[in-house]
């Protein structure tokens, strides 16, 4: 199917690649369908583009690239989605990046609201990490 986006024009997506979020992203409960595709070569980021809203797209990345020992409990989230038979290979974890307009050096990632995707079921949920040492504005552009 073809989807219209403000950033990438009209893109073609296989229907079975669409990821369904029953509750949407926090703040966007009505936008339930997304597609995930790489940003470009040598980039750790991916675009998480809404199928339902051309202008809505998030930048996501693997938290483990920036915080190698990143550790959150996914069992509750998996349960809330009724992914009872999900094993580790089915689940992918991403964090949402943010860049203030015109200030790319101030890129951060939100480590307390990760995105958990069940690749086999093509479903996803945004988690809310209540008790953790992690920041919602973790700076990515600093020498670790």
């Amino acid at each position: 199917m073809k989807i219209t986006t403000t950033r990438f024009g009209v893109i073609s997506v296989k229907k079975d690649k669409i990821i369904y979020m029953p509750s949407g992203m926090l703040g966007f409960p009505e936008k339930k369908r997304f597609v995930l595709f790489g940003h470009r070569e040598n980039s750790p980021f991916l675009w998480y583009q809404s199928v339902d809203d051309p202008s809505l797209a998030f930048v996501v990345t693997s938290p483990f690239l920036f915080v190698p020992n990143y550790d959150v409990e996914v069992d509750e989230a998996a349960k809330s989605m009724s992914w009872d038979d999900a094993d580790e290979n089915d689940l992918e974890l991403y964090v949402i990046a943010n860049i203030p307009k015109g200030e790319p050096d101030k890129i951060t990632a939100n480590l307390i609201g990760p995105l958990l995707i069940n690749i086999r079921k093509r479903q996803a949920v945004q988690m809310v990490i209540a008790s953790s040492p992690y920041s919602h504005k973790y700076s990515l552009a600093v020498r670790q």
Binding site: H39, I96, N98, I107, H136
Partner: protein
């Protein structure tokens, strides 16, 4: 808003399948237990709102800003 006074150990029910129990009251802290179907998400409001606000800000990133951020990151690493 409905206001109900409860003692530790007492409960309120919401609808058919949500039960909130006052577990403990200690000074200004109240511990609550919530039993609800697992499809209902329950969050501390301030954390929920922080993530919501972060999502709103992160939903309008320009492609050019991301390209530049990647160039900066590749230089650092």
């Amino acid at each position: 808003m409905l206001v109900i006074t409860r003692k530790p150990g007492e409960r309120i029910t919401i609808g058919d399948d949500i039960v909130v129990t006052v577990i403990e009251v200690k000074g200004s802290l109240v511990r609550l237990g919530v039993d609800a179907p697992r499809s209902i998400s329950i969050h501390r409001q301030e954390i929920f709102e922080r993530i919501q606000k972060q999502n709103l800000e992160a939903s309008g990133i320009d492609v050019s800003d991301l390209n530049m951020a990647v160039a900066i990151l590749n230089k650092i690493q």
